[in-house]
């Protein structure tokens, strides 16, 4: 890799969780949220970071931003140890947490930006220029004088993304930036991120549960589960690695016994006249559709792409199976 901008070398984070189990009785448990995690991200890359709930994604981002200290291993961003030099690094990074806001709730949007201007000591001309550009690209013109608490979720998210970019950060961390957004807002946010990465060369690390975010934005995806890196490569490869399956949803003219499809396709669910068939994502659906149409009273059909959760779940199940000695 030409220029490793983010470097993790066997990074771990262990949480000590104390739980009351009775009067004066406590139980201590250690949660290994991130486990011997190693990867590098080059300057200007746009990487998707995915995994099931509790996999350790947010914990990784917290360590990268310096607000959590790793329990072990070595971590560098732009050559800086984030938890030691949090404030210095802060000038070079932007962070957007989908479920949180950096904006001041009671104040008009523009007031938050003015505070950012001072906080990051952005030169006046630079601030004007960036603000104008972000307001235009994210369509914030009518919202600047609205108190943040009156913004809709999608509007607030766009406001937050602009806030994270006013100071021209070299790296942008996005933790579920499209959560709860409608299709139009998602599309707009994705288009904006693609342009940001292409035009400014901003390094982007993105966590999401929405496979489309990754498909449309990231040439590289990392999958993590139980704090361990399970896959690192292009999205297409993920489907192979996960042996993922697509689903053919078939509507017959009336109720029928499960379709006796040729292997490896198989019926996974039947509900009245509707049947669900799973088949490998790597194969075309056409022969299967033809085969069914010849033998059954077909009324309608649709193909569902494998969803990321299923792919990850299957990858994990596979790994657990292999790990048994």
């Amino acid at each position: 890799m030409a220029d490793a901008f983010i470097e993790l070398d066997h990074v771990e984070k262990v949480f000590d969780v104390r739980r009351r189990t009775g009067f004066l009785k406590r139980e201590r448990r250690r949660v290994r949220a991130v486990d011997a995690l190693s990867f590098t991200v080059a300057r200007g890359e746009m990487v998707g970071y995915i995994g099931p709930n509790g996999a350790g994604k947010s914990t990784t981002i917290k360590m990268l931003t310096g607000i959590l200290t790793p329990s072990g291993g070595r971590l560098r961003v732009a050559g800086i140890d984030p938890s030691r030099e949090r404030t210095r690094l802060a000038h070079h990074m932007g962070v957007v947490f989908g479920q949180r806001t950096t904006l001041w709730w009671d104040l008009p949007l523009i007031d938050s930006y003015r505070l950012m201007h001072r906080m990051y000591r952005i030169p006046d001309a630079r601030y004007r220029e960036n603000l104008d550009r972000l307001v235009a690209l994210l369509d914030l013109g009518d919202l600047l004088d609205v108190p943040v608490r009156q913004l809709s979720l999608g509007q607030r998210m766009r406001g937050d993304i602009a806030a994270a970019l006013l100071h021209d950060p070299q790296v942008l961390y996005l933790d579920e930036p499209t959560i709860g957004l409608d299709v139009v807002s998602k599309t707009r946010v994705r288009r904006f991120l693609r342009e940001l990465n292409a035009e400014r060369g901003t390094t982007v690390l993105l966590t999401t549960h929405d496979l489309q975010d990754i498909e449309q934005l990231c040439s590289r995806v990392m999958v993590i589960d139980h704090g361990r890196l399970m896959y690192d490569g292009p999205l297409a490869g993920l489907h192979e690695a996960g042996e993922s399956e697509r689903t053919l949803v078939v509507d017959l003219e009336r109720e029928w016994p499960p379709i006796d499809a040729p292997a490896p396709a198989r019926v996974v669910r039947v509900e009245g006249p509707r049947q669900w068939l799973a088949f490998p994502a790597s194969r075309s659906a056409a022969p299967l559709v033809a085969w069914i149409a010849e033998r059954y009273p077909l009324a309608d059909l649709s193909v569902r792409e494998p969803d990321i959760e299923a792919v990850i779940a299957r990858m994990y199940a596979e790994r657990a199976g292999r790990a048994v000695p």
């Binding site: 959590l68 950096t102 001041w104 001072r118 906080m119």
Partner: protein
């Protein structure tokens, strides 16, 4: 230089936020005036029975009462300032947002709290104080210099008050639940800052102790500076020493908290 403007902007923000709560301010003015009336009559009876209690004349005791009511919100004597919000941010993990900014957490909240104090001095303090001074015989100085000396003591008092609450609030990193901490703040604040009875009038060893605790820097010392009962420089030294010690302790705890402790939530 650049950061001076930032913290000024933060202080202005703190001022403006409290300025929007008009109804709460009006209710506060009413409460402090009513409380002042009750307390004044109690004090008058007490000083009737024990003339010169705590070294105060009756008129000084009355002045002390109205000063206490005027500064009650300014000094957040029973808590309820920024620390409630800070503890809540720590509990919910919202603090993460504050931590990945290039700002000093302590200075940030200090600026914010100073803005709040200034608003509450003007919005909540002036009316009860003027009311008390017009209706009752008080012992107020006639010279500008003493008023100036008082304002300096008041500024130091606000900083000490902030530093105490900041330390208490950081405990939320370990305890998470701020309820008990807030209650402890209320009780110690009301009792140890001399809100119920001037610290000068506390008897024996108890008096000796409360008069050297940091809470003495809040109401007792500015009151004594205003009424000419304490030399300003001595008062400043006491307040300044506590301010420095508590702010330094706050920084140490803050460093420990952000290094070792966990930021909550995904």
């Amino acid at each position: 230089m650049g950061s001076g403007r930032l913290y000024l902007a933060v202080a202005v923000g703190g001022f403006r936020r409290y300025a929007t709560y008009r109804a709460a301010t009006a209710a506060g003015v009413f409460t402090n005036t009513a409380f002042g009336l009750i307390l004044v009559h109690t004090y008058l009876a007490l000083w009737e029975a024990r003339p010169g209690l705590g070294g105060y004349e009756q008129a000084q005791a009355v002045t002390y009462v109205w000063l206490g009511q005027a500064l009650f919100a300014t000094l957040a004597i029973q808590g309820g300032g920024f620390e409630v919000e800070l503890m809540e941010r720590i509990r919910t993990g919202e603090i993460a947002v504050d931590l990945y900014r290039p700002v000093d957490l302590q200075l940030w909240w200090l600026a914010n709290d100073l803005g709040r104090s200034v608003f509450q001095l003007l919005g909540r303090g002036v009316v009860p104080f003027v009311f008390g001074a017009l209706v009752f015989p008080t012992a107020l100085p006639g010279d500008v210099a003493t008023w100036g000396a008082f304002l300096v003591a008041l500024l130091l008092a606000v900083v000490v008050s902030f530093a105490i609450r900041y330390l208490f609030a950081l405990s939320a990193f370990w305890l998470l639940d701020g309820q008990g901490v807030a209650q402890a703040l209320t009780v110690t604040g009301l009792f140890c800052s001399g809100m119920t009875l001037p610290l000068n009038a506390f008897p024996g060893a108890l008096g000796e102790v409360v008069r050297v605790l940091p809470w003495a820097a809040q109401l007792q010392l500015p009151a004594d500076v205003l009424m000419g009962e304490a030399a300003p420089l001595g008062a400043y030294a006491f307040q300044g020493a506590w301010a420095v010690a508590l702010l330094a302790a706050g920084r140490l705890v803050q460093a420990a908290a952000t290094r070792r402790v966990v930021v909550q939530g995904g």
